[in-house]
């Protein structure tokens, strides 16, 4: 079976590189599954769960927003942050969420860029917690 090369890269380091059979991306316009031979595509990614399926099972990653570059034989995902489900520091995410939520009270005067950054922060923390809880239930 032909495979897709998947790279997941954050500004600080590469977190995954390997051959997979299918990638499910949390695209800006909804989830999308990528198989080998996909047409060339550049898409925004929002905070969510990225699933890499391969012969030995699937690996799940919590990723923040970013973008992905898809070609017939490769998927390169560049995200602001991300980690495998087992590496999620859920306590830290909860603290980040609490901190972000308590700050949201005084954003009336904030600029749109600040609001956007704040939304990002909330989404990132919520996403990590959601994925962590889903995986610990399973």
């Amino acid at each position: 079976m032909s495979l897709v090369t998947l790279d997941i890269i954050t500004p600080e380091r590469a977190i995954f590189h390997g051959q997979v059979t299918e990638v499910i991306l949390p695209g800006e316009l909804g989830q999308m599954g990528i198989l080998v031979g996909h047409s060339n595509l550049m898409t925004l990614i929002r905070a969510g769960e990225l699933i890499a399926k391969s012969a030995d099972g699937e690996r799940r990653f919590a990723v923040a927003s970013g973008f992905a570059e898809v070609t017939a034989s490769s998927v390169v995902v560049l995200v602001d942050s991300g980690e495998g489900v087992s590496d999620i520091d859920v306590e830290r995410a909860r603290r980040a969420l609490a901190a972000a939520e308590s700050r949201s009270l005084d954003v009336a005067a904030a600029s749109s860029a600040e609001l956007e950054a704040h939304q990002e922060e909330l989404a990132r923390a919520r996403n990590r917690i959601a994925i962590f809880e889903r995986s610990s239930r399973a």
């Binding site: 500004p11 600080e12 316009l29 060339n40 550049m42 925004l44 970013g66 973008f67 600029s111 860029a113």
Partner: protein, 290 residues
Amino acid sequence: MPSLKAIRNRIKSVKNTQKITRAMKLVAAAKLKRAQDAVVASRPYAVRLRAVVASLAGSVDPELYPLFRTTPTPKRCLLIPMTSDRGLAGAFNSSVFRRTEAFLRDHKGSYEEIGVAPIGRKGREYFRRRGTPVYTELRDLMSGPNRGSALAVAAELSRLFTTGEVDEVYLIFNEFKSALTQTVIVEPLLPLSADKLAGQGASTAEMKYEPNREELLGKLLPRFVQSNVLRALLESQASELGARMTAMDNASKNAAEIIGTMTLVMNRARQAIITTELMEITSGAESLKG
């Protein structure tokens, strides 16, 4: 000739200093390894992002993006010298200061105003002492260079730029070559140059964009600025540790040399005392024989 006791004390104090410089060298060497790894680990993202931004920059209207805004006659320029919080790092900080001063001197006439916004405690203290107007102080880098600190710096600089408070932003930092050599470079951060980027863009194959090119580039540009800041911060950190390691290695060697010379002097002094005593004894015995 100084007394034997004075020499012994001096040797002891140099030995203590040497212990400290040696320890600092070892600590810097251990941290340097990690810092270098961080520089290397951050490269794939930067390279990839640059390639994508470059490929998009050529095919959209740069007028749409505030980060591309160029001013025909830039009035206000902002310099970001990156320094360390701690000293004893050889020429690390002073070479950044020298480069910054040179820039201020050379471009005095080209801008109405040149501001300085240093990163790092040493930089803040230096420019405050020199009376150079400090535009804004970029703090909160205590956690070290990571995405969070790069984001904070990039966001602040982008804000100053897009609101028109400054027209150009330059980063001045040490680029890491090796533990022995670091070169200070001045890198324009803002405005981003659409032409320069487009020149580097590879010819893109047939590509579909979601949601569309314009929005995609709009989301990528802030990240691109952030990635450039992160790179500078990481290079600067690795350079600081490299410079400190080299400086402390030299200091340890110098201390060893001083100890060597002082020991020689001490032995000579001791020998002189023994010889004098012997002379006194023999001459005393001679006189008794009479």
